[in-house]
Subunit: 525 residues, 2 copies
């Protein structure tokens, strides 16, 4: 919904009722306790960070711009800076340079799949709390609820101009759409044409592939065939404007598909140029289509040094170039130092697309709470503010991007206090580096089931049907064993009770702030 | 044996009989064909390299020093520069800096276990050809045969002073010993006390470990108990001098074990200082005990940032420091630019030691021909000669270190021509970087069984009982799938025939030059 700025009186009242302080947001219970423990240290650190941010604001006359780039299905190990790159026939020189100029996250955790991670980034909450906890399929009528508060709504309250480009995938209906969820401007694709685009991109490329790596889908026919079989209306690219609704500007088709990604990077560059010197700062959320095989134009296939004719390789090459174009535009406009850019992947590799899939060094992939599904690459870039060349092992959750944006924009007090917001403010991690992260736990959900829990260096897997007790659990020392090879409980029994206590706190917070319930029903009629 | 320099007449005769040219060594058949194909290009490249080496020789008045460091059980992914390091609670700042100052090999291949890799490095041959193809256990009487020619024997022919320090493990008898296999000087441990040292180091550390990670072995008793149960005499550190034999200078015991590694680095530094300005160049073969839990002193346990009380972490910390001390000594003596240092690990992690074991991002570990067993980290360092900061994906085999040393020392013609030498001259890769490697295949043996074959980007696994035909084989595209997750033959059937042809060539060369046969018998009486 369009965020309603709370009246001071009401906020104080609400905070009092909730037993907190004025405007205080509600983090998950384990963090409430950590806050108490570190109160003094963190208050000091935060005061120093506020000073740095105030200096920057004085210099540029506005709050910093924020750009969040969400990549699709890029696994931990895919990029050169994660020991992939040329080794896998897919050099990523630009993303590697971005990491070298900034901060590389070795322990960024997304949700295990596409829609949930988008919800986590947009709302700062575990998706299960929002009522949508799995990937939305074409025609489904659930989505990002009107009652959720998005990072765009929050930043709009701070006076930011807000824009979204790319793969939305948190709901097809107009109520779910970016222009109704806080974005002034959006140029986006719904997910509902995705299977059609896969099928037809395949046909599009097939003649040129040389080793029979092509796929066959259920819908190798026309758009009309597909629409009839799915029973839904299929869309390409929408343009949405806050208060004016949306219109389909590029219908889905073989000619529009290859330009979906290339068109967006041009729009993003123009948006940056148009807003670089504006009075208001901007927030850009670019949900890149790479790498889901719907957008890689011919120019990126068969580059020297790249695996040919692999489609994933071509898409990653394209994405790598486009990220560089974005950073170059910030530099060209003289606003790099006043722009935080965070790049993360939404989940691990989707091996269903093998051999045209991404890759991870870790166990498991997209859809799983093993590390290969949820530990994904992440990079933060902010010249002059983030010290270059850092390799960071502190935990970062995609939900943290919500809360960190609030802090950087100076609207921490606007984070809603009538619900649990899981994201933590990680400004200290960004600006002070390793050891300054605020997070020592993560709850990993598989759909609506709590399936794994990270606590310090340890990770508990809770198998279906278990409540986290013995038997039916695995515990890994994720520092010694990041690939989750040795989950025997034998010498880790001492961790069972601390895990049970952590889960108990998490569950008590859910009892206090229950998950949103959305109307059932699956397909749009 | 002490290498007999062949008389020119005899060498020409032998070469003529074998159908080759004078002094030509016998590489495996696939390389003979590659040589024909690239003859002109490689001749030009080699001529340019010879010029660079001649310039260096003129500057220093001698051939370059060569230092080979063989680490124990360090897996691919262990070091910071391979996305491990701090992420696993084991920072490796010095080895990472060494890689940054030189060349990091992403595709170095060892043999799958300890003794075989040592033989590969020393003889340049697949161990199966030497008659010893698996790990030698305490009391076994086979070893490095008198008839094999070692890199030390070869470099001694080139006028090098040669020294060996550390874990020998290619035979216990005097005929196998370093001082009788080409080294002027050696300070070394046999493997025969290893299980005793593990058991007793455990007792040594146990009181200080806090989480029950200690091991229990069969021999938690005294040296005498162990000797009686094994029926062998156990030794600690020997000092061997060419022509004078060896004497045991440090018997095995709880007081000598923690200083085995620290004592060796001091000896190595002294050896460098003593020989830095000598007329002759030197060759050092340092077979470090790290990381096999017999040598990490207390000072390296519990360092800030390191996993405590993990023994492997402490040993890697120690090794990382000691490598730096070696490089610093070369710099301090002003001979860094005239010294090639190559650091490689002998095989993947030995998970039997879990949780005090190394780690790999790849599938499998020590003892297996899956990548986790045989793809190991490797670094080459030669300031002024090797361009810094390179990440190299070209294939390098441990056997190549033999042949490359011959080239750099200027004694390529001394490589024996009456047997297959598998090592290739990789000087072009060292000095010219990616794309200049000479190797596009590797045969992976498991004991005496050909168990896997790498050819270009593809890898064939031949299961026991198969001859490499269908069924009972797996084929991986090792570039797209370095973790060997997708070995289905489905879309890789076209590679079967090229693999069969490659194996056929390899087998024909074995028929021409059969494997050495050693006398049977296992234990010394």
């Amino acid at each position: 919904m369009l965020f309603q700025r709370p009246q001071p009186g009401a906020a104080v009242l609400s905070a009092l009722l909730l037993g907190g302080v004025a405007h205080a947001y509600q983090p998950d219970q384990p963090f409430v306790e950590a806050q108490k423990k570190h109160a003094q240290q963190w208050a000091q650190e935060d005061a120093a960070l506020d000073e740095r941010l105030a200096e920057l604001e004085q210099k540029y006359g506005k709050r910093p711009n924020i750009v969040y780039i969400l990549a699709d299905d890029i696994g931990w190990g895919e990029l050169g800076s994660y020991s992939g790159g040329i080794l896998r026939g897919t050099p990523t020189p630009n993303l590697d340079a971005m990491a070298q100029q900034g901060m590389k996250f070795m322990s960024h955790y997304s949700e295990p799949s596409c829609t949930p991670t988008r919800l986590a980034l947009l709302t700062g909450r575990y998706p299960v709390r929002t009522g949508v906890d799995v990937v939305l399929w074409p025609g489904q009528q659930q989505g990002l609820a009107d009652g959720e508060v998005t990072v765009a709504e929050m930043l709009a309250q701070a006076g930011y101009k807000t824009a979204m480009f790319g793969k939305w995938h948190v709901g097809e209906l107009e109520e779910h759409a970016p222009e109704n969820q806080g974005f002034d401007y959006a140029y986006y694709g719904l997910y509902n044409g995705k299977p059609y685009s896969w099928a037809n991109m395949d046909a599009f490329y097939k003649a040129e592939t040389i080793d029979g790596n092509g796929f066959e889908y259920d819908f190798p026919g026309t758009l009309e065939d597909y629409q009839e079989k799915y029973g839904i209306e299929v869309h390409g690219h929408f343009e949405g404007i806050k208060g004016k609704g949306r219109r389909e500007v590029e219908p889905l088709g073989a000619t529009s598909m290859p330009t979906m990604e290339s068109g967006n990077i041009e729009r993003i560059k123009n948006y940056i140029r148009d807003n670089a010197q504006a009075e208001q700062p901007f927030f850009i959320y670019w949900a890149s289509y790479a790498q889901q095989m719907a957008a890689s134009p011919k120019a990126f296939r068969g580059r020297p040094g790249y695996d040919v004719p692999n489609l994933q390789s071509a898409e990653l090459a394209q994405h790598d170039d486009y990220v560089q174009e974005l950073l170059d535009t910030l530099r060209e406009q003289g606003i790099a130092e006043n722009t935080l850019v965070v790049w993360v992947s939404d989940n691990g590799p989707m091996y269903a697309f093998w051999p045209n899939s991404g890759y991870s060094w870790l166990r498991g992939g997209k859809g799983e709470v093993y590390e290969g599904g949820v530990r994904t690459p992440g990079i933060a870039w902010w010249p002059g503010m983030i010290e270059p060349g850092q390799t960071v092992i502190d935990l970062l959750s995609t939900t943290d991007l919500f809360t960190t944006a609030a802090r950087i924009a100076g609207v921490r007090d606007e984070i809603p206090s009538d619900r649990v917001v899981d994201g933590l403010d990680q400004t200290a991690l960004l600006l002070n580096g390793n050891g300054h992260g605020r997070r020592n736990y993560i709850f990993h959900y598989s759909g609506n089931r709590l399936a794994a829990v990270r606590m310090d260096n340890m990770k508990l897997h809770i198998k279906p049907g278990s409540q986290g007790g013995l038997p039916n659990m695995e515990v890994y020392n994720i520092t010694r064993d990041p690939g989750e090879k040795f989950g025997s409980m034998y010498y880790q029994l001492s961790y069972v009770v601390p895990f049970q206590r952590l889960i108990g706190k998490h569950r008590r917070a859910i009892e206090k702030f229950p998950h949103r319930k959305l109307p059932t029903g699956t397909f749009v009629e």
